[in-house]
């Protein structure tokens, strides 16, 4: 109850509520999934695992990076059922399978409309964190309208970058981020 009250008044969630976009939905959905997993020790029912997989899949649809929670949750299931490996395997298959099935319609939609199988096409943050100007955190100058050094650099390397469609921009951001990683691994990891 104390944790609930504390979360209800959590400054980051209350004061930054306008800055939090998808998180406002992702957090309760993710918590629902984790709560179901936590209670699955008491109720070995299939429905609990289906519900957990559904919630974790929906959380990943809200915030694509939360897809990383799914393998972690499956690992936790194996740790939780350590003496019942067969039951753990069934539970993990159900949770993972339902989470995947939840994301499949959106993946198919993206493939059909955009030609890519991806939860999200937003790759700017990947580039923002992995380029010669990267400083480990958000760089406000990047989104200055056509004035940022990084965007000018991208424009010089990829003429017409600004006018390219979303998927093409996304591909360029990812390629440049990976190239930076390869060429400056020490700087990128620092």
């Amino acid at each position: 109850m104390v944790a609930g009250l504390l979360w209800a008044a959590w400054p980051a969630a209350v004061l930054a509520s306008t800055a939090l976009q998808t998180e406002s939905v992702a957090v309760p959905v993710l918590l629902t999934g984790l709560l179901m997993l936590a209670s699955s020790g008491n109720h070995h029912g299939l429905l609990v695992h289906i519900g957990a997989g559904l919630a974790l899949g929906l959380a990943a649809l809200c915030r694509a990076n939360l897809v990383l929670v799914v393998p972690g949750a499956l690992l936790w299931l194996f740790m939780s059922y350590r003496r019942h490996s067969q039951r753990a395997l069934v539970a993990a298959t159900v949770v993972g399978g339902v989470a995947l099935l939840t994301a499949v319609p959106w993946l198919l939609r993206n493939y059909s409309r955009l030609g890519v199988v991806a939860l999200a096409t937003q790759r700017e943050p990947l580039f923002l964190g992995n380029n010669a100007w990267a400083r480990g955190s958000y760089d406000g100058e990047f989104f200055a309208p056509y004035a940022g050094r990084q965007e000018r650099w991208l424009e010089a390397r990829h003429p017409g970058f600004r006018m390219k469609p979303e998927v093409e921009k996304s591909r360029i951001y990812a390629i440049e981020a990976v190239t930076y990683w390869r060429e400056s691994p020490n700087a990128a990891s620092g």
Partner: protein, 114 residues
């Protein structure tokens, strides 16, 4: 990683989050104790932390990315308090928590400007 665990929140200017700063040490202690005791349940709260920390390391650090992990941190932190009270005594734990809240409260007043 340092930015991930920093209580500074994005804003103009940056502001200090006293709630996160109070919960973080208790969460770390709770997680360390759970690992030492080989308790599995508290580790479920660690899953979103690892996932969002991985995002931060690969992409960039923003307090916003950490938010999905914070409710789990709060739960682990709250769970550890009765345990600490049993080990150290209620009065001592009350004093420690009071000191943490006071220090973070002062820092929040000094740096807080949402």
């Amino acid at each position: 990683m340092l930015l991930y665990f920093s209580p500074l929140q994005v804003g103009r200017p940056f502001w200090y989050d006293p709630a996160y700063a109070t919960v973080l040490p208790l969460f770390l202690l709770g997680t360390a104790l759970a690992l030492a005791r080989r308790e599995v349940h508290p580790l479920l709260s660690l899953v979103p932390v690892v996932a969002t920390l991985a995002t931060t390391v690969v992409v960039l650090a923003m307090p916003r990315y950490r938010l999905p992990a914070e409710p789990g941190m709060v739960i682990v932190a709250c769970n550890i308090v009765p345990d600490l009270a049993r080990r150290l005594g209620k009065e001592r734990v009350r004093g420690i928590l009071g000191a943490i809240v006071l220090v973070n409260g002062v820092l929040a007043v000094l740096f807080f400007s949402p």
